[in-house]
């Protein structure tokens, strides 16, 4: 499906009417499931994700001094993509490469950002269900996991906030004057080069950087700068969600 990007240069508006530096609507809730230790529901535009966290709990023994038996908690991530979530109903196997790469990325990110050494030989399970996908899938998963982990009360260095950034023209067009774009939707992701970036809180420290498409070296810096800036906006929104929830809890506890 070719995307008509020619109109962008005329009005500087994207397909869904956003400007280059605008995020889609980002809403989230935490403590959505009572049975889980921590849970969250996050919408980034039309991408909708549910995340539950169980643990830290003693995991199943995986043979002597395996990964679960160390001095640090193990972070396990499982992603389920609902069949109805995308445009085409794709059957995904147990070891879909794309899913397992996302799982590894998320697990590695949080293993270094959480204080796992406080919970020796236990496991933190992060379960993510993707209900609807419209681009920025990895970013939505990372944001939802951050919220669920905060809800579970697991100590972490800082928020992990993620978003995507792209460029207005494709690699083959080789347009030097291409503008960077923030927070791509599915249509844009299929056509344009994009990267997913996650930062540690409001700092410029990059925790995740995934780039799977071809893009000219010269454009990368602009894309990255826009992405990091977007992450700061995401942090403000996530922080607002946590604070509102916290305020409500403190109010109800005061009764």
């Amino acid at each position: 499906m070719p995307l008509d990007t020619s109109t962008y240069s005329l009005a500087l508006l994207r397909l869904d009417g956003r400007r280059w530096n605008e995020l889609r609507r980002l809403t989230a809730q935490i403590s959505t499931q009572a049975a889980a230790d921590g849970s969250s529901y996050l919408e980034m535009g039309n991408t909708k994700v549910i995340c539950t966290v169980t643990g830290p709990a003693e995991g199943k023994r995986t043979g002597g001094a395996g990964t679960g038996g160390g001095n640090e908690a193990e972070v396990r991530v499982e992603i389920g993509i609902a069949g109805f979530s995308g445009v085409d109903r794709k059957r995904r196997g147990r070891n879909d490469k794309r899913i397992s790469e996302m799982q590894t990325t998320i697990s590695n990110t949080f293993a270094s950002s959480l204080f796992t050494h406080l919970y020796p030989h236990s496991t933190i399970n992060i379960n993510i269900h993707i209900l609807s996908q419209d681009g920025s899938l990895l970013a939505a998963c990372l944001n939802a996991s951050t919220l669920a982990l905060i809800d579970a009360g697991i100590p972490m260095r800082n928020y992990i906030c993620a978003c995507t950034a792209g460029s207005t023209s494709s690699h083959s067009a080789n347009d030097e004057a291409a503008d960077p774009l923030l927070d791509l939707n599915n249509l844009e992701e299929q056509e344009l080069p994009f990267l997913t970036v996650a930062t540690v809180g409001e700092s410029d420290e990059v925790a995740v950087l995934v780039l799977e498409t071809r893009v000219q070296m010269g454009r990368l810096e602009g894309m990255l700068a826009v992405g990091v800036d977007g992450c700061k906006q995401v942090r403000e929104i996530l922080d607002g969600v946590v604070r509102r929830r916290g305020k409500r809890i403190l109010e109800s506890a005061a009764v």
Binding site: T27, A34, G153, R243, R244, A253, A254
Partner: protein
């Protein structure tokens, strides 16, 4: 007919109340003055004027403070940074952040309800809702047949006759290991195997609701409608046991005599006959606790008793047969009654 185009809206919008009032500390850290007291953790909170911090927020950069739980010191700085979302507590010069919601962390002396998940040769491994399983050594239980005798090899061989996988028990945390796991004991007649009742689990701490450490964790309710006496055990770990009250045989004999009466009945897994009236009152109490948790209220003796009285009142207003179900309208009027008091 005219077509109206509605702007897209998210499925759910959180009430957008003003959060800028407590957001003024973006770079200055949290105001440490003000009374947060030296309250022990997990005690019922009574004031809402506490400062809320979120992960990554600098609590203070003053080097005079020592960091406690829920904080860390960023390398090569003196800044104390929060690692969980919660309220700031100071105890003399120790700064800690108490999370809004977290898994149960055992402390010595806690009364807990647990479930056996594993039987080993000299101990049991018990799920108490903590990050790691607790252990119950064979030497820390009341062995049948008399006064605190030493355990023998026969006991080791019969370990499954005392507790086996899936059994529920009430115990006390005796000591803690370096990794934070607990060692339990049941060396009192108050503790031991649980039967004749129903188990329920509420979130251990925070989330607004949940069990709080209080003066009495175990008490007996005189129920209405011929339900008899019902015991309630609120484990600090958020596990709750509600059961029919059983009179201790020869309750007023000397303590040594009681120890002798510890026989195989204590470790029986057979339930007694429980009358339908008692069952209904047990489920009513369970419904009350569920509503307390749902409403984010603390679960302790006071609240459960108030809730139970209100539930009975709600039930008596209904015509016809007594019903212990507290969903829907009955639940709403229960909450109204509770908030009125």
């Amino acid at each position: 007919m005219a077509i109206t185009i509605l702007p897209p809206a998210p499925a759910y919008l959180e009430p957008q109340d003003d959060i800028s009032s407590d957001d003024s500390d973006v770079d200055g850290g949290v105001d440490l003055e003000g009374d947060s007291g030296m309250r022990p953790s997990k005690r019922a909170r009574h004031s809402s004027d506490q400062e809320l911090v979120t992960p990554g927020e600098i609590v203070t950069d003053d080097p005079q403070w020592m960091r406690g739980h829920g904080t860390y010191v960023a390398p090569s700085t003196t800044e104390i940074v929060a690692t969980v979302a919660g309220t700031v507590q100071r105890t003399n010069k120790l700064l800690s952040v108490r999370p809004l919601r977290a898994r149960y962390t055992p402390e010595i002396g806690d009364l807990v309800v647990g479930r056996i998940v594993e039987v080993q040769s000299k101990r049991w491994r018990v799920d108490v809702g903590a990050p790691v399983l607790a252990s119950l050594p064979l030497s820390a239980i009341n062995l049948p047949g008399g006064i605190l005798r030493k355990r023998t090899e026969t006991d080791e061989l019969q370990i499954r006759t005392f507790f086996s996988e899936g059994d529920l028990l009430v115990a006390e945390v005796q000591s803690l290991y370096a990794d934070g796991s607990a060692s339990l004991h049941t060396r009192s007649l108050k503790y031991g195997k649980l039967r004749n009742g129903v188990f329920m689990s509420v979130s251990g701490t925070g989330g607004g609701g949940g069990v709080v450490r209080s003066r009495r964790q175990v008490w007996t309710i005189d129920t209405v409608h011929g339900g008899g006496k019902v015991d309630v055990i609120l484990g600090v770990n958020g596990y709750i046991w509600i059961s029919k009250h059983i009179e201790v045989v020869g309750g007023d004999t000397a303590i040594t005599r009681i120890e002798e009466s510890v026989s195989s009945t204590v470790y029986s897994s057979q339930n007694d006959e429980i009358a339908p009236e008692t069952r209904r009152e047990i489920s009513r109490i369970r419904g009350v606790i569920e509503i307390l948790v749902q409403e984010g209220l603390r679960v302790d003796e006071d609240m459960v008793m108030k809730g139970y009285e209100a539930a009975v009142e709600v039930d008596s207003e209904n015509q016809g047969e007594s019903n212990a179900y507290l969903g829907g309208e009955a639940g709403k009027s229960l909450i109204r009654l509770l908030s009125a008091t």
